[in-house]
């Protein structure tokens, strides 16, 4: 019961804040609500007995990425008079599509017998994670490194100030 209540709390936090992100007129406030939404998701990870990914979520998304977004907003526009229109002419059609998609997903996810693993989460799962990254998942891991290189080079090419 307690767990379910906590789950509801974190879910409400994530969903409510996410709604605020896309409806708020002030883009700075939207970014702050994004922090709340990401924290809510981190809470869900803790409930799922995945503390490592919860910590990563807080460190990277809540810590690094949100700060970066806030900085980008502060450096590029005036804060107080910002009033962004968050909708365009197509909002109604998009809403219909989104609601339809939601219904289809709820129906299909709800009627499926999901396989259940009847074993506990292993004790030293962080060690397992590290080993798997270096053995089973070494190739995607290395490709991610190339991806970071490409992203860095690309970002520099696009954003660097040119002195000519």
């Amino acid at each position: 019961m307690v767990l379910q209540a906590v789950f509801m709390l974190f879910s409400a936090m994530a969903v409510g804040a996410a709604l605020a992100v896309v409806t708020n007129k002030n883009i700075f406030h939207s970014a702050l609500f994004l922090v709340v939404a990401l924290l809510g998701v981190a809470g869900l990870y803790v409930l799922l007995e995945a503390p490592f990914i919860a910590v990563v979520q807080v460190l990277i998304y809540v810590g690094a990425i949100s700060t970066l977004i806030l900085f980008a907003i502060m450096l590029t526009r005036r804060l107080m008079d910002a009033s962004e229109r968050q909708r365009n002419e197509q909002w109604f059609i998009s809403a219909i599509v989104a609601v339809g998609l939601f219904i289809v997903l709820v129906l299909s996810v709800g009627q499926v017998h999901w396989p259940v693993v009847h074993t506990d989460v292993p004790e030293n799962h962080l060690n397992r994670l590290g080993q798997d990254l270096m053995e089973h998942y070494v190739l995607p891991f290395e490709v991610t490194a190339v991806l970071l290189l490409a992203a860095l080079v690309g970002a520099i090419v696009i954003a660097r100030e040119r002195t000519r």
């Binding site: 299909s108 499926v112 999901w114 053995e135 490709v143 991806l147 490409a150 690309g154």
Partner: protein, 492 residues
């Protein structure tokens, strides 16, 4: 005959090494101008080395290896190697096109060729990926680098706009695809394609309600890469704004990669659900063929017209996948080898057409269809090359495009998918209209003003000759190419 694991990564290692060399050269002090002339040559050398490694592997790879390679992340079968060859060839031709075009348009030369090599590396990984995780990481690497290359000309508003649009659409498509993958993982507890198939067949029908929505999500990602309707909206803007050699790349590279992934994921992971996804793919194919060809007629910019043309070819190629296996592998028109031969011909034809467009843009600064008036008097070579490529795109006999269309439509008729074949043939006739309309400008309209003759650079000549010869060779002497495609059309 088995090859040791490190050798299987030889092409990728060569490409990565070349990339690092190209990036590193920027750091060496010295005469900047001369150094930059070396960059394309180094990139081409690396691509040549990778191509030789791939051909070596192709000749040695006949049977599946006993054990899985790197935990089943990658499968180096002939199907993958065939697509790797396509990727390396495309990149090499695009490097040739870029040497003149990019020289004065951007100061960041080394980064340009480095990123181009990374896209090529990404494609060689994606086409061999046998695990959803690897598919995702590979597609992300491919996409991110393509976004940067599309928006590479920062001073050009259109290029920047194209990059941002491509990025926004791409990010959405990737998110949908990743969600689909997560559904598969949740349902089967594995990301390995073959293991997914086993788990799904063991679960019998209890997971059926989930597989179809999940497959639709996957299709959003793959459909974005191959630019099929309704995932095509990014294509015209991105094609128009991107630097023209990159447009040539976008129309071939990511598209072939998308088809390779589509074929592998659907055939290996979801063979039991063939009737379901077949219906899905054939409706996408029909919509794609009709919408793209009708819209293409009204374009006034050559690059936009070619964008819709490339969307329409995605529709034709999908026919081959839909008709997979029906009519039997023993039949003379087999769907998947039809896909391969179509893509091979399409590569040379489309890159060739863009070589003409690039050369024309270099000389006149325009890509409007009107400005092509009287091209034959300004540069007969360009005009006749354009004739070959447009004939091939239209599927006129004697060109590679005809062989490709013959095989996919043949597969459709053999599989008794008459609707697909009929729609394909009718839309091909519509397509001929706008291809021939461009030729009408090139050959029969008088040039508007100061018709200076166009001189071609050495690299442009090489690209044109290579693409022209191969487009005609596939059309006139198809046998070896067909054998290559048929030998490559089996997946492990």
């Amino acid at each position: 005959m088995t090859t040791r694991t490190p050798f299987l990564f030889l092409p990728q290692l060569i490409l990565l090494l070349t990339t690092l060399v190209v990036f590193g050269i920027e750091l060496v002090p010295g005469d900047e101008r001369r150094r930059k002339d070396w960059l394309p040559a180094i990139a081409l050398t690396g691509l040549g080395g990778a191509a030789m490694a791939i051909i070596f592997l192709w000749s040695r790879t006949t049977t599946p290896p006993a054990g899985s390679i790197l935990a089943g992340m990658i499968v180096v079968d002939r199907f993958a190697l065939f697509f790797q060859i396509l990727a390396v060839t495309t990149t090499a031709l695009v490097v040739l096109l870029s040497t003149d075009y990019m020289r004065d348009r951007t100061p960041d030369q080394g980064e340009f060729y480095g990123l181009l090599l990374i896209v090529c590396l990404a494609i060689t990984l994606v086409v061999a990926a046998a695990d959803l995780l690897m598919v995702y990481v590979g597609i992300e690497l491919l996409s991110l680098t393509s976004y940067v290359l599309t928006g590479y000309l920062r001073e050009d508003r259109k290029s920047t706009e194209a990059g941002i649009k491509y990025f926004l659409f791409g990010a959405t498509a990737s998110a949908a695809m990743l969600y689909g993958m997560s559904l598969f993982y949740g349902a089967t507890r594995t990301t390995n394609l073959a293991a997914i198939a086993t788990a799904l067949s063991e679960a019998e029908n209890s997971l059926r309600g989930l597989v179809i929505p999940a497959a639709v999500f996957l299709l959003a990602g793959f459909g974005f890469k191959i630019a099929a309707v309704p995932f095509h909206q990014w294509a015209p803007d991105a094609y128009e704004g991107a630097p023209t050699p990159i447009t040539a790349f976008l129309s071939v590279g990511p598209k072939t990669a998308g088809f390779a992934v589509l074929v592998r994921v659907f055939l290996i992971a979801l063979p039991n659900f063939y009737p379901d996804w077949m219906a899905l793919l054939s409706s996408i194919s029909i919509i794609t063929m009709i919408v793209s060809n009708l819209v293409a007629i009204f374009q006034t910019n050559v690059k936009r017209m070619m964008a819709y043309s490339s969307i329409s070819h995605a529709g034709y190629i999908l026919i081959g996948i839909v008709c997979w296996g029906r009519g039997g592998f023993g039949g003379s028109f087999e769907g998947i080898s039809g896909v391969l031969i179509y893509l091979l011909a399409y590569l040379f034809t489309n890159v060739g057409a863009f070589a003409v467009i690039t050369a024309f843009e270099e000389a006149t600064g325009s890509s409007r269809i009107e400005d092509y008036a009287g091209l034959v008097s300004r540069s007969p070579a360009l005009a006749w090359a354009m004739l070959v490529f447009l004939f091939s795109l239209a599927g006129i006999p004697g060109t590679g495009g005809f062989i490709g269309k013959l095989y996919v439509f043949g597969a459709a008729i053999q599989a008794r998918a008459y609707t697909l074949a009929v729609v394909g043939i009718i839309t091909s006739v519509i397509a001929a209209f706008y291809y021939l309309n461009l030729l009408r400008y090139v050959f029969f309209q008088p040039p508007t003003e100061n018709p200076k003759s166009i001189t071609l650079s050495a690299t442009a000549k090489i690209t044109l000759i290579v693409t022209c010869v191969l487009t005609l060779a596939i059309g006139l002497y198809a046998q070896p190419f067909l054998q290559l495609a048929q030998a490559s059309a089996n997946l492990w």
